[in-house]
Amino acid sequence: MTEARQTVRITDTSLRDGSHAMSHQFTAEQVREVSSTLDKAGVQVIEVTHGDGLAGSSIQYGFSRESEMDLISEAADVCEQAKIAALLLPGVGTVPQLKEAVERGVTVLRVATHCTEADISQEHFEIAKEMDLETVGFLMMAHMRGPEVLVEQARLMESYGADCVYIVDSAGALLPRGAAERVEALKQNLDCQVGFHAHNNLGVGIGNSIAALEVGADQLDGSLRGLGAGAGNAPTELLAAVLDKMDVETGLDAFKLMDAAEYTIAPMMPFQPMPDRDSIMIGYAGVYSTFLLHAKRAAERYEVDVRDVLVELGEREAVAGQEDWVIDVALDVAKEKEGAAS
């Protein structure tokens, strides 16, 4: 065998996507513990931000228990080799927060837009590049469009300065073939790196990640125990184990990550994200994974079936960040129910 081993870089997003499942209640102490454990297990990039990115702390998405800037500082403080990443959704987070995050220790910026709206990210990429950050573009809800549109949008992000563009399966609605054809199209048409971010709503988070890897993905996302929105992400410890078995170079210590999942993150988790009834429904209806807890809360509050709310959100083609529609739809469903009953 003269062929070099395939390598892939894993970004752990327990402290960002996991923030959704934690209802944004991470404490400084938890962030220190998780970051330090990930750093020692060889994770090269650790994302720390409110689940909806910088400045996501709001009524719309839920207020952070502790300031995300302080959490970034804590993570940066304990890491010896890992870089700290922050997520920014244009329309939510802005340049002043980006600058503060960099002062607190962020060196990788991930800029996320809906998969057809890449042109709202130009300013943020350009400023990040002026600040010498590594940059990643996130095309969210990528199941809603085919490879052609995604290539066009990814090219925009590349032209603004993205070092890597991710296909982001925010709804956990893709199956391996759909994940692979999207990643492959980007690989064939871009010069920059390509990544894949999975949600496990249909139980194929790891499968989709492997499918992406097989067509050349350079970066993948994971979170310990899959701690993330909906049914969670591809579990980082499971990725490490599977990639080891595939003889793919990750630089990760699978045993340490298994311990981190078992002893560090599991005790913090309010519940284990998994493809349960409501999460499957999210993948099936193609709805933003983050709507899960919001829809559960609204369904309980307004006494309606959470699945009716999720299906209606799918029909209205809600995109990432539209948590307000969850309440609006729940109120509509309640009105309909009342109308039908009377």
Binding site: T94, T116, R316, D328
Partner: protein
């Protein structure tokens, strides 16, 4: 008040910028001129759709930008529908020419105006700014609550059809959030404001939607929900006079949330803004509310110049 004697019942006005916004505003003023006479539409492309349409309506046009408008002493009020960058220059020129500027760009060279909340507060200013479509849509809701009970925090979320978000908004999306948040504070009466904008590419395009969350200073049992509901409904009717497609799909509804200020009552209002379809498609409620507000502000200035008291809006 008219100095030239030719505009006894009407003040001559001009629109600078013959793009979508300028053209829609033209139709709005033609439909309901009030005390305004639209004298000139100015653009930079002689063959632009907007200038053609203005000529078809028998309005004077120029493709030489703002200069001919500055040179016409009869024009007293100028609507600027160009860009923030251009308006920074125009503002100075209009000031020197002694003309009132109603600014539809986010340049913010003058005080903010939201017709329902503070229409008559700045009639002696030479330049007023309409902030953003989101602010025009949501500041009235924050204002409706804050005139009943003091407001700790107001947050708005605008969802706009991708097709109605132009390059100006897209390239400078941060500006929307800053300006709108300031509007919630300065005119909406909130101690702190926050704004979020989301573009949705659904096809057919969705009608502009806005959600407004307002956190009062008071505790849940101290909040007079009936008075807030009444105030909100009153403001909605008021806005509807200029923008008939402005309506609550749900709310005001009351809930409690964990906030940085402890567990607090939250007033939630869910708005839909459908445009009149004068020129722009109906789903572009975001653009329609800007042009409707601009017409209303122009009319208020015109009446003020003429010394006419408000009779009917």
């Amino acid at each position: 008040m008219s100095e030239d004697g030719k505009t006894e019942g009407q003040v001559k006005v001009a629109i600078v910028g013959s793009g979508n916004i300028g053209t829609d505003l033209m139709y709005k003023i033609l439909k309901e001129p009030g005390h305004m006479e639209l004298a000139v539409v100015s653009g930079i492309e002689p063959e632009s759709e907007g200038l053609k349409r203005a000529r078809d309506e028998g309005i004077g046009t120029t493709h030489e930008g703002i200069q001919p408008v500055l040179d016409d002493p009869e024009i007293k009020i100028v609507f600027d529908a160009t860009s923030a960058k251009a308006h920074v220059k125009h503002a100075q020129m209009l000031k020197e020419a002694g003309k009132i500027a109603v600014d539809l760009t986010p340049a913010a060279q003058g005080p903010y105006v939201v017709p329902t909340a503070n229409l008559t507060e700045h009639l002696d200013e030479g330049n007023v700014n309409l902030m953003t479509c989101g602010a025009q849509a949501t500041v009235p809701m924050a204002y409706a609550v804050s005139r009943v009970t003091s407001v700790r925090y107001a947050e708005m979320v605008s969802t706009v059809a991708s097709a109605s978000a132009g390059p100006g908004t897209r390239q400078n999306i941060d500006e929307f959030t800053f300006t709108t948040a300031r509007g919630l504070e300065e005119i909406g009466g909130a101690q702190d404001g926050k704004a979020i904008i989301i573009l949705n590419p659904a096809d057919p395009p969705l009608i502009m939607r806005n959600t407004v969350y307002v956190v009062p200073d008071a505790e849940r049992d101290e909040v007079d929900e009936d008075a807030i509901t009444e105030s909100v409904n009153e403001v909605v009717s008021e806005v509807q006079k200029a923008v008939p497609g402005y309506q609550l799909t749900n709310g005001p509804t009351f809930d409690e949330r964990d906030t940085p200020w402890g567990e607090k009552p939250v007033v939630m209002m869910f708005l839909e803004v459908e445009g009149a379809g004068d020129f722009l498609p109906k789903y572009s409620g975001n653009l329609d509310i800007m042009t409707s507000s601009a017409r209303k502000v122009g009319e208020a200035f015109a009446r003020h110049l003429l010394g006419v008291e408000e009779v009917v809006a």
